[in-house]
C-alpha cells in the first residue's frame, strides 16, 4: 500500500501534529504510539516507517510545536512586538486552558529534563528562542539588563502557566489570580508603564 510522496509527507505531518497535541494534553509518558497513530488515521507500523522510535517522534513533535507556538507569539506581539501584547497572550486563561494550541514548553517543563538528549536539545533551543523574542521587545529596559530580564520573564511565564494549570481545578480563583499577577509584575519587569487591573475580557468567563 505504497502512497505518493505527497501523501507520505502529509501523513508525517499528521503524526507530528497528533503527537504534539496529545503530548501537551496528557504528557509524553501518558500517550502511546498506538493512540498517536490512530489520531493521525494510521497504524503504528506507519509511524515506525516515518520515525525510528518514539523518542525520535517526541523530539520532532517538540520542534514542530515550538515552531507553531513561536509563530503564534510573534503574531500576538504584532508588528511592533509589544511586550504587553505578548504577555497578554502567553498568560491568558485561554493559553492555560487550550492545551492543544499551547506552548510545548509550558506543557512539558518538568518532564523535559527526563527525556532523550535530542528532546532536551530541542527544548533548550525553544527556550533560547523565547528569550530572544522577549529580549527584542524590552525596548524600555537598559540594554545591559535586557537579557537577564528576558531570561527571567521567559522562565517565569513557563512556571506561571504550568502552576496555573496544576491548580486550575482545585483552586480556580488562585489560578486566575496567578496569571493576572504575573502579567502585571512581569510587565513591570519588562519596563511596562503601570497599568490598571486587567480588563474583563481576559478574565475567566
Amino acid at each position: 500500500v505504497r502512497v505518493t510522496k505527497e501523501k507520505a509527507a502529509e501523513n508525517r505531518t499528521a503524526l507530528l501534529r497528533a503527537a504534539g497535541r496529545l503530548f501537551r494534553e496528557r504528557g509524553i509518558d501518558g500517550v502511546g504510539v498506538a493512540e498517536i497513530s490512530k489520531a493521525a488515521g494510521l497504524t503504528h507500523g506507519a509511524l515506525y516507517a516515518q520515525f525510528p522510535s518514539k523518542d525520535a517522534l517526541v523530539a520532532e513533535a517538540l520542534a514542530e510545536g515550538l515552531r507553531s507556538s513561536r509563530k503564534r507569539l510573534l503574531e500576538a506581539g504584532g508588528e511592533e512586538s509589544r511586550l504587553t501584547d505578548m504577555l497578554d497572550f502567553l498568560l491568558s486563561p485561554s493559553h492555560r486552558d487550550d492545551l492543544a494550541m499551547g506552548c510545548p514548553m509550558t506543557a512539558s517543563a518538568s518532564e523535559a529534563a527526563r527525556q532523550d538528549e535530542a528532546v532536551r536539545a530541542r527544548f533548550a533551543d525553544g527556550f533560547e528562542g523565547l528569550v530572544s523574542t522577549l529580549e527584542a521587545a524590552l525596548t524600555e529596559v537598559p540594554p545591559a539588563e535586557r537579557r537577564e530580564r528576558a531570561l527571567t520573564i521567559a522562565a517565569a511565564q513557563i512556571g506561571a502557566v504550568a502552576v496555573a494549570r496544576a491548580v486550575a481545578k482545585a483552586q480556580p480563583r488562585l489560578s486566575d489570580e496567578l496569571l493576572d499577577a504575573s502579567r502585571r509584575v512581569l510587565g513591570a519587569v519588562g519596563g511596562e508603564r503601570a497599568r490598571g487591573r486587567r480588563p474583563a475580557r481576559n478574565r475567566r468567563a
Copy 2:
C-alpha cells in the same frame, strides 16, 4: 509476618520518602510501585497494605515532600526570613541538581495538572504555602503589592528551576545564567537592593 505498630509506621514513612525521592528524580509516571517498595526494603504487597492505590501514595508522598521542603526553605531564610537567602537557596545550582532533596513542585510542575484530584489539591496547598512564606519576606514592598509579587516570584522560581534542569545537560551555561538572572531579577521584584553578580560559591563548579 505481622510487625509492631512502630515498625509499620516506620515502613509507611520509608515508602513515602522513597516514593517522593523517586518521583522527583524520574517523574511520577516514570516509577512503578515495585521499585518504590524495593527502595523502601519491602514488597509491593506491603505498599498496598499501607495505601489503597498508587494515586493515594502519590498524593501523600507529595504532601510529605512539601512539608520537608517548606522546612528547608524556612531554615534557609533564617530567623529574619530574608528573601535574599530564600532565593539563593531556591535558585542555587545545588537545588537544581539535587533532585532527591528538591521541592516536589519544581520536579512535577507540568505533571501535576494531569494527576488525581487529591494530588492537585496538595499541589495547590503547597503553592499557597510557598506564596505565603515569600509574601511574609517582602518587607520592602508596599503591602498592597506583596501578594501579587509573591505569586509571581513563587511561580517564576518553579519555572526557572524546571527550565534550568531541562537545559542543564544541553546548555549548562544557559542553565546557570538563568538561575543567576532569576535570582537577581526576582530579588529586585521582591524589593531587594541591587547587588553585584553572584559570588563564586554559588556558581557551577
